[in-house]
Symmetry: C2
């Protein structure tokens, strides 16, 4: 901690040169800072041959929650260690960490500049046929291999303690599970949907179900989660798919990661009503998104089941009825968290481009109302939606409100 100082461009270059073998002493390095500056400094360092690395440094504060908020730089350790663990388990789809330094709270990692951020691509109406398969593999493997299916009690408890991440979890506890369901000053509500937002503040049946999901978020350490699986945390190209930004990682309910991602695909679906004026192309993009959701769950459940059947170390969990039950509950949890993501991205603090970029106010409001209504249905009906096809039917039948 005593070593800590905010990196300059020169510091970032020296740090990238010192760690990993990408650069040589003789290289003439260039660097630029391109992070948002609120949570972290992010530098791209490159040499004259076009080779490059990313240096990410945690800042000891965050303005991301609406006001000056001190935030431990310990989160850089969490991020590095989550990415290293997930990288060992699923190197294909985890950004590669080359070095982490606790003193300066900084990470050197591979540069994914040749890929694009998934959210922007989906907003632009692009399609990646392998997206679902790639993320299904990432989710199934990272969740399974950090769980009680594999780790014994001692190993698991040590890992749970190692990834206790109270400050970042608190952000999720508040923004995801609390603020949208009350009149909180952090909420950002698009004026036309104020009546629908207000309904959330008084919907006790919904709040009871959200409380159950929050209780699990607080006290169901099933696996080492990424913790922030939205479409801005995913780099994509026609061939590659890499997950980044794991500082929200902690031991939590598996459905939170799966559901956050499904929620983001549904937000993209909601946005298409207003973003894409051509009805045929809109339909085609929405069909693509639903196919990704279906494929995601089919591939995820297939791979997770295969792993349960062949890689389970804990005898008690080799029971096939238990495994069936476990996967069923994981689907229900995932749909519940997907519903929460739909709601909090619509009326909470942190919005998404999928809805924000709809230029027409009325169309944006319609998409937002659709997202809120679907979110509520997912949360309330999650235990009854026992197949992914039932989810797809629900989505297709959800009318776009006026």
């Amino acid at each position: 901690m005593s070593d800590y100082h905010t990196f300059t461009i020169a510091d970032a270059k020296a740090f990238a040169l010192a760690h990993g073998d990408t650069f040589r002493e003789s290289d003439s390095l260039e660097a630029e800072e391109f992070g948002d500056g609120n949570l972290n400094l992010v530098f791209r360092v490159k040499n004259a041959n076009g080779r490059s690395l990313i240096v990410k440094q945690a800042l000891p504060y965050a303005r991301c929650v609406g006001e000056s908020w001190p935030l431990t730089i310990e989160r850089a350790r969490i991020e590095a260690e989550v990415l290293l663990r997930h990288g060992r388990i699923c190197p294909e789809h985890t950004v590669k960490v080359l070095h982490y330094d606790a003193g300066v709270a900084a990470i050197v990692m591979e540069d994914l500049g040749q890929l694009a951020i998934l959210r922007s691509e989906l907003v632009a109406g692009k399609q990646f046929p392998q997206l679902a398969d790639q993320l299904a593999l990432y989710l199934a493997r990272t969740l399974f291999f950090t769980s009680d299916f594999v780790l014994n009690g001692l190993q698991k408890k040590i890992e749970v303690a190692r990834f206790i991440n109270p400050e970042l979890c608190l952000i999720t506890e508040d923004l995801f599970f609390s603020d949208p369901y009350c009149n909180h000053e952090r909420n950002a509500i698009h004026q036309p949907i104020m009546p629908q937002a207000r309904e959330l503040w008084h919907d006790e049946a919904l709040q009871a179900e959200v409380a159950r999901l929050k209780a699990d978020f607080l006290s169901k350490p099933q696996a080492l989660l990424h913790g922030d699986m939205h479409s801005g945390s995913i780099f994509i190209s026609a061939e590659q798919c890499k997950v980044i930004d794991a500082e929200f990682g902690f031991y939590g309910p598996m459905g939170f990661d799966v559901g956050s991602f499904i929620g983001n695909l549904l937000l993209s679906y909601a946005g298409q009503f207003g973003l894409q004026e051509d009805a045929g192309r809109r339909q085609q993009q929405q069909d693509y998104l639903l196919r990704q959701i279906e494929d995601l769950w089919q591939h995820f459940s297939h791979e997770f089941t295969r792993l349960m059947q062949t890689e389970t170390k804990e005898n008690s969990f080799r029971n096939s009825e238990y495994q069936h039950y476990f996967l069923q509950q994981l689907l229900a949890d995932s749909l519940g968290y997907a519903g929460c993501e739909l709601i909090r991205r619509t009326v909470g603090l942190a919005h998404v481009a999928d809805l924000e970029q709809i230029r027409n106010e009325q169309q944006r409001a319609a998409s937002e109302r659709w997202a809120l209504a679907l979110g509520r249905s997912l949360i309330m009906q999650r235990q009854q939606l026992t197949t992914i096809q039932q989810l797809l039917t629900l989505v297709r039948h959800q009318q776009l409100p006026a």
Copy 2:
């Protein structure tokens, strides 16, 4: 750790004199060691006026699990800190800790020699009308005030990490959830019930439900549990009731503590078939035990509901529908763990006097079969048993097998 040495009688006297104000330098102290010598040394130190204290020292090994098994003396810290926290929350029913010393892994605590161990009293057919009320208060308060209802995310996570207790939890994970359901060498099976024990090894439906309960034991840190709430951990008199022996304490599912105790009352009920030959007195004692189970749940749920309504700090959990759901699931969990306790005390390593002291082999076997059958019903039907009266009906209708 470097200070650690096994206490002699003289060490125990000096330790008791040095900590707390019970004794004076001028006192002529006497001491005796009366622990089982396997897990801990337990000394009673007293002066000529009859004042006394208990000194309990953790030994760095345990032969309790059938073989030489090193066991961390860190468990003395866990025990002391659980008792101190529970003592702050419910001083009426928690043994009072006067001092804990990490170097020698020893605790000075009040002497409860004027009380009796609950199990022995129940085996002898005694009754304590306030037992259920007293333990309902202890359970409701200790579980509620160490939970997410009260602690914020940061406090709770610090506490969970502080009470990570892998070695002692492993004993429970094995003895409670695994061994009875396979042909494990640690099991001690009374020969006449071998056919019923064998059925457990092949009962996949039961094993699936036990796996769910084990998964929660591993990954549902709802509250700081006592972790070993059997009737040998409870000191009792006509007026007083005090819980001791908290070295198995950790953050786990609330139903584990509640269910362990209910399971022990049901084991006592099972034992009465063989221990009490007078049919009228047997009926009377069994009625008493069922009344205690009914009172325990009624008082527990009443107090826990009152606390949820008036003392909940976390806004999300003030929702009355959520609270209702929470209590309902807590009952189901408790009945499941009670069922596990019935089974593991009958065919696992650690038996109970309630069954062992039945002299007639056939009668003992009948009581054991009854305990196994009831245990299975509780585990399989726990989600359908939505009131404590349904449990009582199930118990009353459970036929004593031949």
